[in-house]
Symmetry: C2
Subunit: 378 residues, 2 copies
């Protein structure tokens, strides 16, 4: 299994991006991911009770249909808290793209990211779609990965290649996210494409596992988005003997895990205003849920995060956060190790003494720059 | 009922403070509150699972004994995460004070606030106690209120006076707190003295209600402390006919509520690095617990708090925070009103449409200054 920090599209996939004018800066803001033939789709969505219009539309479609040809993503506008009009805008986006591609609108997934509560400028999308379709190419992924960015400072991309027998399988993912990042899900979009041939239940299960071990293990500011989605399209183009729970599932699952974890870590590395990448490992618990609860409580503590920013070994804040996590903790069983704080990568190890379960969570420090970026974002 | 933003000790109470050297700055750091005769005590403690040594000691004492003569408080050191040695230091502090005052050590409450995980410098306290006892006076409260401060920029004090028949009752409270403020409890210490004559069950109930409506309705950074406590001493010096649940309870309760709410608001006004005082009112719910859950989710959202700091009317962040609160919310029933953001006092009104229950929470904005203060605090 080989990992590349670069997007290389699998067999049968192409992509495109244009600047439609949604972003006032004139940067790329409309992306298309396209599969030559119908691909099985699986999705995980935010658990926020308020969900953006594209998510509502996708959820409805996914109930009836699991085969998809395209994903259209706009940045600069979240199309969230926009009511019935927003839902119509998402539907119309899919309809316009379907017409331009000559496919059924039910085979299209829609995603949006950006400011909440503003009407989607549908006229701009309408004008841009013909250009978007004309731009489709194998190399288009290197523009699509930029078109999904908002406050991101670099594009997040990862490709894993591995073999099943003599078939070379590719899993390629791009993601966006830098703030409003909390587990369940982190505020992010992740689009993963693979040419593998796999059953729907195995694909569903693999994504859920991978998300739990990656995007649900990162937090920047504990703020949960309304627009998060992670999606995998598997088009079977490589024609390997089909993967199911009894055949090569573990291999595919670990490859998908790897792509998701790399993308998740990149999101934390790009956390708004951050100066440190922090890994928090909590061990010695009876079950991993408790370990994750403690790790997340530490990761979301503003006081802990400012202490790391200040390179200030104030480990009392780790104690206070762990104690506030809701997990029963006795002072005398709590052991804490902190790596040198003057480095960029910080390791925090918290161990208790009541079992073998553990969890890892990734986060960033809290800096004056984070406050400035988010005071101005609109 | 009259409210004064100044501490005036009730009948039978005196106070004192000295600089013992725990704070390297040489500022006041050891305070004593003293009652001429045994006073009934009631306490509420932090719900953090890690609790500082003084809290463990007080809890043990309160099981056996409800009558107290004195509270000794040090700032600059939390005596938390200090194990058995820390517990002994708290006990020894009480023993030394008891000897100097000529009272029983079981009639003394102990409190600490400051850095977590460092040994209490008992030698400094030992040397300071004779000076502390010599300094006892009615005016000593104006030094005690400063001696309990850590990152506070002003002392928090409130006095309420009211009559029962022809008896003039006084309730006087002092508090500290500026950061590590989250509900259950906020990171704070509050010491309230009254000369009223009241039954123990009525006193217990009144403090619990008052704390729920005040200290448990404020949040600065969502970080829950290990050292919080709120205590009321009621010495009965005014010899009013005893208050119980059937006699004047409502009057006393509302007076105590008022003292606690004023102190709680002052803590938010002094929130580390803050530039705005934010009131969040959530209404139209079926029960007030749900309303409070939504209000707190908004109040603890870093993205909401930075938007207020930036005077940036990004109300999508209120929507996202409300949706992430765990309460089932439908987009179309959510109404949001925000007062002009260029002012110092901000009112946020969130209303749903499913009932008459509401809740109010107070918080501050998140500023680069908050990050700087907490990056350096050690």
């Amino acid at each position: 299994m080989k990992l590349y920090h670069k997007a290389t599209l699998p067999e049968g996939f192409t992509a495109a991006a244009v600047a439609s004018g949604i972003k006032k800066s004139g940067k790329l803001d409309l992306a298309l991911l396209y599969s030559d033939k119908p691909a099985k789709a699986t999705c995980v969505f935010t658990s926020n009770k308020i969900q953006a219009a594209p998510l509502l539309l996708n959820k409805k479609n996914l109930k009836a249909n699991k085969l998809y040809r395209a994903i259209i993503i706009n940045s600069g506008n979240a199309n969230c808290f926009t009511g019935q009009a927003g839902l119509k805008d998402a539907q119309e986006t899919a309809r316009l793209l379907a017409r331009a591609l000559g496919i059924n609108k039910k085979n299209i997934l829609v995603a949006s990211t950006g400011i909440i509560g503003k009407k989607l400028p549908l006229d701009k999308i309408k004008k841009a779609i013909p250009h978007l379709v004309l731009a489709i190419s194998k190399g288009g992924i290197n523009r699509a990965n930029k078109a999904i960015m908002t406050t991101d400072t670099f594009s997040k991309e990862a490709t894993v290649k591995f073999n099943i027998g003599n078939r070379a399988i590719t899993i390629c993912g791009i993601a966006k996210g830098a703030g409003m990042i909390a587990p369940n899900m982190a505020t992010m979009l992740a689009f993963i494409m693979t040419d593998v041939n796999i059953t729907q239940p195995a694909l569903d299960k693999a994504l859920r596992t991978a998300v739990d071990n990656s995007f649900n293990c990162i937090t920047v500011d504990g703020c949960m988005s309304t627009n998060d989605m992670a999606v995998v399209l598997a088009n079977g183009a490589i024609k390997n003997p089909i993967i199911d729970f009894n055949n090569h599932f573990k291999l595919f699952n670990s490859a998908l895990n790897l792509v998701c974890l790399e993308l998740a870590k990149m999101i934390v590395q790009d956390a708004e205003g951050s100066s440190k990448f922090i890994k928090i490992e909590v061990g010695g618990l009876k079950n991993s849920q408790e370990a994750k609860k403690i790790a997340l409580a530490i990761a979301n503590s503003n006081l802990f995060k400012t202490a790391v920013y200040g390179e200030n070994p104030n480990f009392g804040r780790i104690v206070a956060a762990a104690g506030a996590s809701g997990v029963e903790i006795k002072e005398k069983e709590l052991k804490i190790k902190v790596s040198p704080l003057h480095k960029k990568n910080i390791d925090i190890q918290v161990s208790l003494n009541r079992g073998n379960a553990s969890a890892i969570v990734y986060t960033s420090d809290l800096t004056p720059e984070y406050v400035k970026i988010n005071a101005e974002y609109n």
